[in-house]
Symmetry: C2
Subunit: 160 residues, 2 copies
């Protein structure tokens, strides 16, 4: 069963961030899958992550609350689809925990980790329903935002 080729990003619809970072992938995995780590890096400052709840298995909850600099809260609720330790995490807001279809799907996220020297090749893909979704995510600052969050992740992992 080939599970890697199922993700085929379409440049019109999807966004990709790929970078080699100088921290080991088992710690990157831990930072992505543990609520107490997530709240330290997940949302680019001056935004922050107030809460995080994780049930790390297919169909399990992935819930965060992001907070704007003005204090407005933005809850996100979805579930995991694939959990391959130290390798790949797939999650979506198109399905709530227990695989229930959601009201307002925005994207599926795929983050992959591969060892590269003493560091990690980090690939994040956002898969959208349509071109409008991709544009919206771009205008929300996907590249800057996910890039800055990744800087925060690396800085946080170095304190772990």
């Amino acid at each position: 069963m080939n599970t890697t080729s199922i993700i085929q990003p379409d440049p019109k619809l999807d966004l990709v961030l790929e970078r080699v970072i100088d921290v080991p992938r088992d710690l990157v995995w831990k930072a992505w899958t543990t609520p107490e780590h997530i709240v330290k890096w997940f949302t680019p400052a001056p935004w922050s992550t107030k809460e995080c709840e994780i049930d790390l298995r297919p169909g399990g909850m992935f819930r965060t609350i992001m907070v704007s600099p003005e204090g407005q809260e933005f809850p996100n609720l979805g579930c995991y689809l694939e959990v391959v330790p130290n390798e790949r995490l797939v999650f979506t807001d198109a399905l709530l925990p227990g695989y229930r279809p959601s009201d307002n799907p925005f994207f599926t996220g795929v983050v992959s980790f591969a060892t590269e020297g003493s560091g990690t090749r980090y690939t994040a893909i956002a898969i959208h329903r349509d071109e409008a979704g991709r544009k919206q995510h771009e205008e929300m600052g996907f590249h800057d935002g996910w890039g800055k969050a990744l800087d925060q992740l690396v800085a946080h992992v170095k304190t772990m």
Copy 2:
């Protein structure tokens, strides 16, 4: 990792069909996961299934075209979420193949098979976004339709 308790049907939102059938579960699995078998039983007569395409892995395509007695075609496109041979199949139309969020999600389906004597305990669950989705599915004839399709499955498996 507990993968069985993630599905928790809510009577307000979900529909369940459970029955013991007198055919072995490996053949029931085969009937559910092979296009040439699906077209023989999947849609209650006088409706029929014209086409079926299956890529049997998480994120892989599950596509059918149902045809009404008047000849009108109803295409369905979704993907698999869990594939546990002879045990459980989870699929949804909330995500297209490759986990892309879809435009018009209706339900996630969970079919489970357990050996019972020389037969199979067959459980089918339809998980909807909301109460309106559950009612719509009920009015489309969930219980009669899925029950009749199951009769057709049993009759077909006996010819396999």
